[in-house]
Symmetry: C2
Subunit: 382 residues, 2 copies
């Protein structure tokens, strides 16, 4: 590994893209005849293909979960904290796979891709995709990798929802499942925040009904607002107090509408930088996938019934200060599994960081997650 | 009273406007040479002017606190729940006054008023006004009414902040003070939400740097988003769950970006209807007044010191599910008063309704508030 990249990183990685030409029927009733899935892998697949771990990504992330794309790359993958040699998801032992979900904006077929029917970008004609659709596409991808059973499927937030759906749709293909900072469905408040974000994007005059690619523009303002709002909900009140308090940017108030407080500056920066790396139509799709996710709905609103065929050994982790997906929501998952006399480890990590904690290097979190993963290392090594 | 209006309402009311021509110096360093204050009064001022109660309004309300403007008026004033004959703030006993704050949009001088220097609407040239400025203007108004001492000053949310400021700046002019669902200053999270709301308004292409009056337009989209976001924070997660749950508007999901869930429909309606009754520049000003409020800052960040000269008898009320101004924030006020060996009654009302509870007919709340007000009735009657 080049010596300017950290020793415990998977180092330089390159995304790959796999093409699929067997039609994929979607929950909305439409289908894709062809589609691409972009993904990355870290570590080596062993001879009997028993050490493969699938990582499912959240709202605004992608397949680039670990490592660097170039020597000049300043930021590693989004879960560099957890994935790498010697880390919790140890690439010395596991073959780790992360895919960009359908509808994404980092290589997999998404709203910016060319619609074969019109030879223009899909834009608003891209079908609404659901967590179930993603899991179906992930299962087909799994076949192509010649992986019969995932040693583990792991995800945080919207990623955790995909882990749950895998256990409902393909229970025989997962040995272990880790559901982190997730919920079995969104609350009205969650949906409300998503709706404000969507309205911000869709009301931007540069949105052009989602056909902004053809107008050579981007709904910057709307996407920025969506991200600013998202960020507030990813942090806890306490975390924001600790991080920013009422600290002033220039030492005194301006009596104007420029930035006064550090927190304003932070949110504007987060919003503006997001626009350069994310597509607004993808953001819309991801929020709808979140809103629609409610696997118990098909089982008389009984999550235990929905998970009754799950076979995996579960780890559920929540964070005490996460008000987006509060610990109560994780406990609903634990309860549903226990109702099935299912093996489940649950940890509520007491931290002030809010929802974002699942991405952070927090000792208590990594300890409990690492201990659970340690059993998987033994399983693979034995 | 005409028999189609409720018996326990103050009935038909008419707003009045008072002109001021003594310059008012503002915290920002600028001043008004002339300004108007629009207000309403309910009940009769007694002969020694000892039964006057000032109501301070919150972010998006105004001087119309009770009664109806016409027989066709479908909605009464914003605090009809509490103000009226036989109600908690009993107009059979008290002379109740509510003013539209400077910078407002319902009659008092505000951003839509004509700037005498340009003969155009102030727009963005309207000075930033603070809670302290409001209290100063309210004190001058008090003089004109020939009221030496308010029997009580009462306010919820941003209104409660004005009550605190009165006790700092004019402690000798208040006998009783009720601070409901308020805080001694905003948290970083509060400021963050306000900043998203402001950015939504200011990024609306119809905002025209605040000079939209001259462009014969209104930043509808931005103000709508601000209000939608505000509404989520006025309700608790539980209240939204109870009110909307995941109920679908059309019974099934649409797989599109139209309204799916009832909560989306509610928020869109709240946002859209707000635009027709509120001015975006006023909204910006009110959020800045909230952000800037921090009376302890001038007293070594010690709220006890700031309130050390307060003489009033205090009632502080918070609501258990209010996460915008949580009970902890009210307790900071109680603590500061107690540190001064000050007489204070505190009640945390256990309700699921969130911040909006202060406007609602909740028995436990009205009971505690009413008991405290009962002492004032006795004081006036004796």
């Amino acid at each position: 590994m080049p010596d300017t990249l950290p020793e415990n990183s998977v180092g330089l990685v390159t995304a790959q893209t796999m093409h699929f030409d067997v039609p994929l029927a979607l929950a909305c009733g439409r289908s894709f005849d062809n589609y691409d899935i972009t993904y990355e892998t870290y570590g080596e697949l062993n001879s009997d293909h028993s050490n493969a771990i699938l990582i499912c990504h959240a709202l605004s992330s992608d397949h680039h979960a670990a490592g660097y794309h170039s020597m000049e790359d300043r930021k590693p993958g989004w879960w560099e904290t957890c994935i790498g040699p010697g880390k919790v998801i140890d690439t010395n032992h596991f073959f780790v796979v992360c895919m960009n979900n359908l509808g994404g904006c980092k290589g997999s077929t998404g709203p910016a891709s060319t619609n074969p029917e019109t030879n223009k970008p899909y834009g608003p004609d891209f079908p609404i995709v659901t967590v179930k659709d993603w899991v179906e596409s992930q299962a087909r991808f799994t076949d192509k990798l010649e992986i019969k059973t995932w040693l583990a499927i792991i995800g945080g937030s919207l990623g955790g929802m995909q882990v749950l759906q895998w256990n409902i749709d393909f229970p025989e293909r997962i040995k272990h499942a880790a559901v982190i900072a997730a919920a079995p469905k969104l609350t009205a408040q969650n949906i409300g925040f998503n709706e404000v974000a969507r309205q911000a994007i869709m009301h931007d005059v540069d949105f052009h009904d989602g056909r902004y690619y053809e107008h050579d523009t981007v709904p910057r303002r709307g996407l920025m607002l969506a991200r600013m709002l998202g960020h507030i909900t990813y942090l806890s009140d306490d975390a924001m107090r600790e991080k920013f308090g009422r600290e002033l940017r220039q030492g005194k108030i301006s009596y104007g509408f420029d930035v006064d407080f550090q927190v304003e500056s932070y949110l504007r920066y987060q919003g503006e930088s997001f626009v350069d790396r994310f597509d607004a139509n993808t953001y819309l799709l991801m929020t709808k996938a979140l809103d629609y996710f409610d696997p118990a709905a098909d089982f008389d609103d009984d999550l235990s019934k929905a998970l009754s065929h799950a076979q995996a050994n579960f780890l559920v982790i929540s964070f005490s200060s996460d008000w987006r997906f509060a610990p109560e929501r994780s406990r609903e998952i634990v309860k549903a599994l226990q109702n099935n006399n299912h093996d489940v480890s649950y940890a509520e990590v007491v931290v002030p960081h809010g929802h974002d904690a699942f991405l952070m290097p927090i000792n208590d979190y990594l300890d409990v997650f690492g201990a659970w993963m340690g059993h998987l290392v033994k399983e693979v090594s034995s």
